[in-house]
């Protein structure tokens, strides 16, 4: 089959395609090629990751010692807010869309995404969104300072004047995400190679399929809630203003109705990536494929009925607290299915530990730690203690950094040979992994203790008894930040050259993407492959 596909490709290239590559900047501005757009998404998200990371470095520098050293409290609030927004909407989400663009068509045997022009557009509006968001740092009002959750009335009555820029930036990000998600759904539904039934799709494809549906369902809610915020702030409506008959708690309900599915939007694709890599390096099939599909779908469904667990302390009737507590704990069941399936996949496999596998195994362990602290937070009575403390910060950084981000690293290492045609430097990759692993735990693990001891989040100063832990956390933070430059070096080196990668550099890897040459030709599967 491999040779067939390669030959097909060669013979078709001449006659089929008039869209020859343009040169220079025009190639990237006008491109409708899923691989080009995927690369742009990945680079964009990496740049955003560095910017968001730089903000985090300033935060950790300020928190290195108690007292105010480097920044004013108001600017500190701007840092935490924009750090969160950039990492969520600028780093993690576009990185996953980049993976989707690069890999989905190749995995399902399609020549490109279904809606290539829409694809170009959904990428190219993103830089504008973040230009507005980051640009607001340099405006008189300053950047948004009301937290990435932009609770009313912090973002309305008490806004520093950045609300309009924030709202328009979020609108553009939302439109981009919705267009990207529609593209993914249409591609998966209509572009699969003949014979690839839904239950034959790689799990990677499944997780992106479900994630895209989540995006389509909740990004419009986000658009709605920021619109209400905008009219409340500037046009005299009172959606969230008690003086005019509104209710600020309503804001939290609508926001978290978006916000909770959003956190699964950032983790389900990670499940897909890890479910691709662990079988490859265990040299076994993924254990319990169909249970993985159903578990993903169940998590997606449950994500819609647990939102108020973010709001236990707003004062809810007992019934509400119990309902949201039990529903939240229920999510541990399908998540547990996944973790056990990954373990069963590794069980008695002939495992090797290349960098992608190292990141994947770290993902399984550290994401599970994040999951467990999530379970603790789900318990209403104890949540009253943990709410808005560093325990929450520790929890969501374990699931987002050692979860989503580690899976992105794993995926990047895994497919770099396919993208660039060269093997990355394995030693440097391992150095990157071990530096990241040690520093990330030094960075986030002590936050659990800080939170349990009562250190509140989003503050530039803290009581003296938290000083020692914060010092270690900051050192971990700087080390983790610096470690990511190793990744940049690895990627640049890999693009420039190195050992030539064969079509299938990983012995145990499966999937159509390995049947095409490395680097993947500009056009692949112009004739659909045959699936047995």
């Amino acid at each position: 089959m491999t040779t067939d596909v390669l030959n097909d490709h060669d013979s078709h290239e001449g006659e089929h395609h008039d869209d020859h590559k343009m040169t220079g900047i025009k190639r990237w501005l006008y491109t409708t090629n899923h691989k080009d757009i995927g690369s742009m998404y990945l680079w964009f998200s990496f740049i955003m990751f560095l910017i968001g990371g730089a903000l985090a470095m300033v935060i950790r520098a300020e928190l290195f010692q108690p007292g105010l050293q480097i920044v004013e409290p108001d600017f500190f609030n701007q840092l935490t807010t924009v750090h969160g927004l950039i990492m969520v909407f600028g780093a993690i989400m576009p990185a996953f869309v980049g993976f989707a663009n690069w890999m989905l068509p190749m995995m399902i045997g399609a020549p490109d995404m279904a809606l290539p022009r829409l694809n170009n557009w959904s990428f190219w509006i993103l830089p504008f969104a973040f230009a507005i968001l980051i640009g607001s740092f340099f405006m008189e009002s300053g950047a948004p300072n009301f937290g990435w959750t932009f609770y009313a009335p912090l973002s309305t009555t008490y806004s520093n004047g950045s609300t309009a820029f924030f709202v328009f930036a979020v609108h553009i990000m939302g439109i981009s995400s919705i267009m990207g998600a529609i593209n993914i759904v249409v591609t998966i539904m209509n572009m699969r190679a003949p014979g690839m039934t839904y239950m034959k799709m790689p799990l990677f494809v499944w997780t992106f399929f479900i994630t895209a549906y989540l995006l389509i369902a909740v990004m419009p809610i986000l658009a709605g809630v920021v619109t209400m915020l905008l009219t409340d702030t500037y046009f005299g409506t009172s959606f969230f203003d008690a003086a005019g008959g509104g209710d600020p708690v309503l804001f939290q309900h609508i926001f978290w109705f978006f916000g909770h599915p959003e956190v699964y939007i950032m983790i389900l694709p990670a499940f897909g990536i890890v479910s691709t890599i662990i079988p490859a390096f265990s040299r076994k099939k993924l254990f319990g494929y169909s249970s993985m599909v159903y578990a993903t779908a169940s998590i997606a469904f449950l994500s819609f009925i647990v939102w108020a667990h973010h709001m236990f302390t707003t004062g809810m009737p007992l019934f509400g607290e119990l309902f949201f507590m039990y529903c939240t704990m229920l999510i541990a069941v399908p998540t547990g299915v996944k973790v056990f399936n990954w373990m069963a996949t590794m069980w008695r496999g002939s495992m090797t530990f290349e960098t992608p596998m190292l990141f994947s195994i770290a993902f399984v362990i550290l994401f599970t730690i994040g999951g467990f602290s999530g379970l603790m937070l789900a318990l209403t009575p104890v949540d009253f203690q943990y709410h808005d403390t560093y325990f929450v910060v520790a929890h969501f950084h374990y699931v987002l950094v050692t979860g989503s981000l580690f899976s992105i690293f794993a995926g990047a290492y895994y497919w770099l040979p396919k993208w660039t045609g060269y093997m990355y430097n394995e030693t440097l990759g391992k150095v990157h992994f071990w530096c990241s692993l040690i520093s990330v735990n030094l960075l986030f693990f002590p936050m659990h203790f800080l939170g349990l001891a009562g250190m509140p989040r989003r503050i530039p100063d803290y009581a003296l008894q938290f000083a020692d832990f914060n010092k270690w956390v900051s050192i971990g933070g700087f080390a983790f930040g610096l470690s990511q430059l190793i990744f940049l070096v690895v990627v640049i080196k890999c693009i420039r050259g190195g050992e030539k990668a064969p079509a299938k550099p990983w012995e145990g890897a499966e999937g159509l993407e390995w049947t095409v040459a490395s680097p993947a030709p500009y056009h692949t599967f112009t004739t659909p492959p045959k699936i047995d």
Partner: protein, 188 residues
């Protein structure tokens, strides 16, 4: 021939695509609308459950009838002024004892301590939230806006009763008023 067939399938795929896109766009617009629909839905939901402690905003009608003298409910009054309204605002008495079904009249004092005319709006809230549905206001200054000229003072009345159906376990209610400056928001 082969090209024709390819063209046909291409058209076919495009038709299939646009069908899916239309459906997905429906979801998008539907969910955008649903976000806004949550606003009235939330009000209805809170009305039924008393979730957010909001009380009736139109006057209740009191008909003299049974008074349950076996129960005595303590009703506490607290007030606060929102940021930026230079008024003094406090209850004349801090709490009253009331039997369910019995009507009570209490007064609140307000004074505009600034040199400009200000329109205030008091927003009531009852805690525990579940009791809000049983706290009936017959007459309340919060039903209307309160314009006060510079340095003017006023005593404002609140007439209420506690419903006979108030759940057994509730013995104390707290009625909280927050006063907002809405001068800029009212026309004329």
């Amino acid at each position: 021939m082969k090209q024709d067939m390819e063209k046909e399938t291409e058209q076919n795929v495009q038709q299939k695509n646009s069908k899916v896109i239309k459906k997905l766009m429906l979801i998008v617009f539907g969910m955008f609308g649903f976000g806004f629909a949550l606003v009235p839905l939330y009000d209805v939901f809170c009305d039924i459950t008393g979730l957010n402690g909001k009380t009736n905003d139109v006057a209740a009608v009191y008909s003299a009838g049974d008074i349950d003298t076996s129960r005595t409910i303590t009703v506490q009054f607290i007030t606060r002024t929102a940021k930026g309204i230079p008024w003094q605002f406090n209850p004349v008495i801090n709490e009253v004892k009331v039997h369910p079904g019995e009507m009570k009249f209490v007064k609140f004092y307000a004074k505009n301590e600034s040199d400009r005319d200000i329109v205030g709006q008091a927003v009531p809230s009852v805690s525990p939230g579940l009791a809000a549905a049983y706290f009936q206001k017959i007459e309340c200054f919060c039903f209307t806006q309160q314009p006060l000229q510079a340095n003017e003072e006023i005593e404002m009345g609140l007439q209420f009763y506690v419903d006979l159906e108030l759940p057994e376990e509730i013995t104390t209610l707290t009625l909280s008023y927050t006063l907002y400056d809405i001068t800029g928001k009212v026309d004329s």
